[in-house]
Structures are given as structure tokens and as C-alpha cells.
Symmetry: C2
Subunit: 333 residues, 2 copies
């Protein structure tokens, strides 16, 4: 039971896609035995910028859980839990909000970027500005010491640790552990159109439930090198989505290195590399799709997985809340 604890999860705003697979799901599978993992179905956080569409957030709780099971997350080894059903997270958030200033939240680079990306302007929902404190609550409530995040999210872990240090200083001893961000090598997978962000709403994602035809069309439509018109021309590998995806998914990276060299020299057509990628993605997704279809038919089982995991998570998070209440000497009945 001395395995290090990882907190990770996904906002429940849509089914997951192969970008999630490369960026995080593959690592979660890898860590199933070596680490204690809590996977948070982050519906509360999803509402911070989707309060106008709660139905979407609600629907996707089960969709994301299905994706987890489909890729091979084992609910006996990982705890899959729903954020909105863990009251200690909200209670700790409320407490932590007193240990961080508005100015500090506004300075958070991740929040600044995301406010810009969402076009909130001055109309930032207060919940959105506060979400670093909520994330600190999530991380610390599980006493997670490892948090996998994208490079752009690293400032959030720093902010979590600031709150942890303030809580510990007020308590006079270490109530909560600091957490360490681990940033996956893969980086964020671009959309099939080459745009930085793959998203269902952007229409440039390949979902984990994609049909063989959808995979085929997506790879065919994929952005390569617009100046690579004839097979014999030299082509660019950087910014070429097919190669970026091959970097992420090709099991034979040596052969891939040779193909890249050939592509750069000239003499390798887009058709060839697309065919290679398509085969790899078909092989990757086929068993995921099959398992997803099977689990989809057994909604009761999926709900039981979520319920059992949430109950385990509830015990852990309530225990941490008691530790914080004790540590700070707050009122107890």
C-alpha cells in the first residue's frame, strides 16, 4: 500500500479521443500496477464554463467512464469517481479560497490563457476564476503526490502547492503533501487539420469510438505538408500531422525514423504514410471500440463501477477533510 498516489481525470464535456489516449490514457494503463490512481470524472469543473448546458456535462459522465473501461482501465486497480458526488472537494475548495488572493488567481498563467481562449473578457464566471483552488482541493483531498498535466497546466500545480504550504504553515505541521506535476513526453496531439487543439466541437478529433470508416476518412483528410505535391519532392515532417500521430502511436519508432528521413529527401508519398497510420489507428481503436460497445450495453455495470469508485473516493476525501479540520483546529461536532 505504499504506492505513490496519482490524481488524474477528465472534464465530462464529451467522449474522449485519441489525443486523450496519447496524452494520458496510455500512461494510466501503464501505471495501473505501480501506482494508486484516482480518475476523476470532473463534472463540477466542467460546469465552470458550461453552466448554460448542464445536460451535456451530465450525459458525458457515463461517456467518459465508458471510454476509461474501453481502453482497459481496470476499476479494481484504479478508482473511477464523480467529482460532484464528493462533498469534501467542495468544502475544501471553500476553505482554500481563503488562502489565495483574487490577484494571485488572476495572475495564474493557465487561467489567463484559458480566459483568453474562451473569450470570456470581463464576464468570467467566478467559478472559472476559482478553479485553481478547486483543483488544489481535488489533488490534496486524495493526498496525491503526482499529477499528470499538460505543460500549459503546470502553473496550477504550483498554485496547489502554495495553498498546501499556507495550510501547513497555519496548522503548524504538515497536514497535506505537496504534489509534483508530471508532463507527458508526447505533448498535446494536434487536430487532424493541424490546429493545436483536437476537439469534438472543432470537428478535428478522432474519437475512441470512431468507426473504421471514420478513421479512414479522418486520416485521408489529415493535414500533411501543403508544398509536398509530388512523391519525389522533399517534404516537411514538422507540423505534418501524419508524422506527429506516427510519433505518438507507431510501435516501430526505428522504422518511422527511416521513413521520416526518406520523406524529407523526397520519394515518399503522403498515401504511403497515411496508409501506415491508418493501419496503426485501426488496430489501436478496434479493440477499444469493441469493448466500448459491449460496456455500452451494460449501463448498470458502468454505473456500479462509478458508484463503487465514488464510495472509495468519498472515504479517502472525507478522511483528508478531517485531517485538515483537525490540523487547522476548526469546529467539530
Amino acid at each position: 500500500m505504499n504506492k505513490p498516489t496519482i490524481l488524474t481525470g477528465d472534464r465530462t464535456t464529451g467522449p474522449l479521443h485519441i489525443g486523450h489516449y496519447a496524452g494520458s490514457l496510455a500512461n494510466r494503463l501503464r501505471f495501473q500496477d505501480s501506482h494508486e490512481q484516482f480518475l476523476l470524472l470532473a463534472d463540477t469543473q466542467a460546469l465552470t464554463d458550461n453552466a448554460h448546458d448542464p445536460a451535456k456535462v451530465q450525459r458525458n459522465v457515463v461517456e467518459v467512464a465508458l471510454d476509461y473501461l474501453a481502453v482497459g482501465i481496470d476499476p479494481d486497480r484504479c478508482t473511477i469517481c464523480v467529482q460532484s458526488h464528493l462533498p469534501a472537494l467542495a468544502e475544501l475548495t471553500m476553505l482554500y479560497l481563503n488562502f489565495v488572493t483574487v490577484a494571485r488567481l488572476e495572475r495564474n498563467p493557465t487561467i489567463k490563457d484559458e480566459i483568453r481562449a474562451r473569450g470570456f473578457g470581463r464576464d468570467i464566471p467566478a467559478g472559472f476564476l476559482c478553479y485553481p483552488a478547486a483543483q488544489a482541493a481535488d489533488i490534496t483531498a486524495f493526498k496525491a503526490t503526482i499529477v499528470p498535466v499538460g505543460a500549459d497546466q503546470a502553473p496550477l500545480i504550483e498554485q496547489t502547492n502554495e495553498i498546501v504550504r499556507r495550510i501547513n504553515a497555519t496548522a503548524g505541521h504538515d497536514v497535506l503533501p505537496e504534489a509534483q506535476a508530471i508532463i507527458p513526453k508526447a505533448g498535446r496531439l494536434p487536430g487532424i487539420d493541424g490546429k493545436a487543439k483536437m476537439s469534438k466541437s472543432g470537428g478535428n478529433a478522432i474519437p475512441l469510438s470512431a468507426s473504421p470508416d471514420e478513421i479512414r476518412s479522418a486520416v485521408r483528410a489529415m493535414f500533411t505538408d501543403p508544398n509536398h505535391l509530388r512523391v519525389e519532392d522533399p517534404g516537411r515532417v514538422e507540423g505534418n500531422v501524419v508524422f506527429t500521430y506516427l510519433d505518438a502511436f507507431d510501435p516501430d519508432q526505428d522504422e518511422l525514423a527511416e521513413l521520416k528521413a526518406q520523406y524529407k529527401r523526397g520519394g515518399l508519398g503522403d498515401g504511403k504514410i497515411k496508409a501506415r497510420l491508418e493501419t496503426i489507428l485501426q488496430n489501436l481503436i478496434a479493440p477499444i471500440r469493441a469493448r466500448r460497445a459491449a460496456f455500452s450495453k451494460d449501463r448498470a455495470y458502468v454505473l456500479k463501477v462509478i458508484k463503487d469508485g465514488t464510495e472509495r473516493a468519498r472515504q479517502r476525501t472525507e478522511e483528508t477533510k478531517r485531517d485538515v479540520v483537525n490540523g487547522l483546529g476548526l469546529f467539530q461536532l
Copy 2:
């Protein structure tokens, strides 16, 4: 069971004083039969500007409950409950924060004034900025339709109702009732030194547990009219703390009107009016002090009152949370 519901309460930052009695406790006694009343021991809110001193906030939960019992609040007719032990309040706050913008919170006149009064400058704790959403959660969680507040707090009720309307609009039907502020005629009682705010930390308050000697010295030290040097001089009644207190506590308001007229004409000494006020305050506080001393010796009883009330409040607030979750169609296990 069709009594209108009132939510009221006090931040647990210190024992209550006669300003609280005049401003709110007297009304609560008056409403014990005609209204359903929830009295919130607001320890979570107290932390929004006292996170550096959680021990103070903790200690005063029982002190404020003692004050309630001492003035005659009947725990069988009023529900005395602890804010930090009602998780639905934190959960609803998190949700409501998504229905209010940062700009709107910053524009709230009450928050603006209080930020200035506390000298926060740019270092406003995020929890403090967010407290109107927390207050909206408190009010709506009890489905209170009446909220007694000082005149300066009325904008908070308006903000609560804005959130209520947004929740109801998103749900497509009325999940939550709007609330009405009632502003006590009495207004806020000044400190004995004439300063606008009576507070224990300001050393200008008469606590509900004041000893006969403390009451005597407080009245002797009380600010009157600095230009009223000789008995025969005309004196000012406005801004004269003794008369302000007599306005609030004198059971014979007709006689008081005559005394005021005499004071203004000249011929009434400060000693006389101070003696009158002292008698009134000694009579008011003596039974409160005696009951407070008795309840203080039975801490187990006080804790039971808090525990039972908090359990009743928990049922009510969890029910409202379910209504909101159902209304918005959020995920349910």
C-alpha cells in the same frame, strides 16, 4: 407548517453584544412562533477574512450558540446549526459561482465597502470576494424567503435573487424561491464611543455577558454631547449615544420623548440620562447573563442543541441540493 422561513445567523468571530440584541436577536425572539427560523453559526464565512486565526472562529461557535440560548432562543422552535457542517452549502456555492461573473461580484456595493473597511487592497482573499455566492447558497439551501439584514447588506440579497433567477431560467422552472430582505427599523447601534461600529475588538461594545460593573463603566464612559457642559445648557440628542441606546432599549418611549425635549432645551444632566440607561441595560442583561452562566456550565447540552439543529438543517439543505440537481439535470448516482 406554512410559516414563512427566515434565514439569519452570525459570524462566529466573537461573543455577541447588545448591538446584536437590538439589531437582530430581539426580532428573532419576536418571530419564534410566527416564523420558521434557521440560525446559522457562520464559521465558514467567518474564515473568509479570518483564515489566519481559525482558533478564534472555532472557539466562538459555542460562544455564539450560548448567546442565542441566553437571550431566550428556544432550540425547539428555532434551528441552530453550524455552517461548516452542512456540505450542501459548499456544494451549492460551487455551483452558484458558475452563475455569477467576477465583474458582478466586484461591483457588489457591500463587497466594495467591506473590502475597503478591511484594508484588503489588492490582496482580497478569493473566498471573501465569493462570499455573496456563498450567502446565496445559505439562503436558498433553506428555501428562506425572508432574510433580515442591515441596510448595507441589502445588495447581497439582490445578488442572491439574480442567481436564483439564473438557476430557475436554466432549469426551465422555479426550483428556488426568491428572498426578501427585511431591514430592522433600529438600524445599527453605534459603539459606546460614538463610532459607527460596535465591536469587541474596538473595545466599544457591551457584550451580552457583561457584568454589572462593566455595564456601569460602559455607560459612564459613553459619548454624549461634548458641548453639553452644564446641566442648564441645551444639549444635542442626535449622535448622543445615550439617547441612541435609549431609542433602542427604553420600554417607555413616550417618557423618553419628553426627556429628549428637556435635554434639548437644557436642564437635564448627562448623569440623569445615563442612570436611566444603566438601569435599563442592567435589567436587560441580568437575566441573559444568568442564563448564559447556567448554559456555560452545561456544554454538553449546548453541543447537543447544535448537533440536533445541524442535523435538521442538514436534511433541509440536502433536500434543496437534490432539488437543484434535479432541476438542472445534473448527474445523479
